[in-house]
Symmetry: C2
């Protein structure tokens, strides 16, 4: 029998995607489930729902709570966390790079490093110099990575991945899919892995 | 030392308040923490946030997901569940009754029975006849209960409780407070109890 599979859908600006990205491999190892990392863009998905900004900015009382909740969660999981100076950041370039990196084997390390840049180091992840540093950090030659990320084919592939997410009922991040079954939120990661194992 | 206390804020229309209401006592017993049940109204709290309807109706893709998620959660916790024919229901009368009942010792049983009426039996919980049946079921004389619930004092008390919720940063239900610390959602119940115990 093939190894059970789970798709992990994430966006670099998404706050709860940060703990999910840092913890998903540990869950996968424990469960014996393969994780497919699928970067996407939340902007178009929010726009389809009539949102011009993150719901955490649109609903500011909820947004205030989210930052406190995220801080508590990160403390509980011993993940470093510093509230970014601006939110949401533009994750487009980082997502293009991550998608290109998935084919080359460095997409997952790069993704985790982008989350650290955003939610720990307070860097601007839409900035080419920051992204080049992050690439360097994970042992990838920035110039080649940028070239691969900005081909029309890769840009279209990210758009298609985002469209696919929306078509499959994804409305926020992080999300997890096990075939047609959708799980939304870092809070549902454990349940999603149990589902993948058939429990 | 006094027993640790947690306040449980709920609204009868709220979907995730159903599993929270059915499970909160078990958590309290296990944790050795006192629970104070605080019925409130989400309508005014949503209105303050610019929402004229439940976010699960405003954002329909998210709403579709919520029903599936709730079904899965209830199955996992072995709670019966049937999707109500209309959502959200008007929980005003039930909340007035629950608040009056808290003083008389039947508020918690009544609250659980209202949730069952809404999310298991498919009844209309704004209907006086349904509420009278629910009161009967928990051994309360309906006429007296209605009289107590509809005094100006009790109506004002429910309004004040809802205002207090909003002032304390509550934006949805269920919510849990431990002094000034807020936890939102059935998903945070365990964390809230751990917080109350000082862990």
């Amino acid at each position: 029998m093939d190894m059970a599979k789970i798709e992990f859908w994430y966006e670099f600006a998404s706050t709860y995607s940060y703990p999910a990205a840092m913890r998903v491999d540990e869950f996968a190892k424990k469960a014996g489930v393969e994780v497919i990392w699928r970067p996407m863009l939340l902007g178009p998905i929010f726009f389809e729902q009539g949102l011009q900004d993150s719901p955490f900015n649109v609903y500011e009382v909820k947004g205030r709570y989210m930052w406190r909740d995220l801080e508590r969660l990160c403390a509980a999981y011993k993940l470093p966390f510093n509230k970014p100076s601006h939110f949401p950041q533009n994750g487009l370039k980082a997502a293009r790079l991550a998608l290109a990196g998935m084919k080359e084997g460095w997409g997952e390390d790069f993704s985790r490093a982008v989350y650290r840049a955003n939610f720990v180091d307070g860097l601007t992840i839409s900035d080419d110099a920051v992204l080049a540093e992050v690439l360097d950090l994970v042992g990838v030659e920035p110039e080649e990575a940028f070239a691969a990320a900005f081909t029309q084919e890769n840009k279209d592939a990210l758009r298609a991945q985002t469209d696919e997410a929306w078509e499959r009922g994804i409305f926020g991040a992080p999300s997890f899919t096990v075939a047609d079954e959708l799980f939304w939120g870092h809070d549902r990661m454990e349940q999603a892995f149990n589902w993948a194992k058939g429990k």
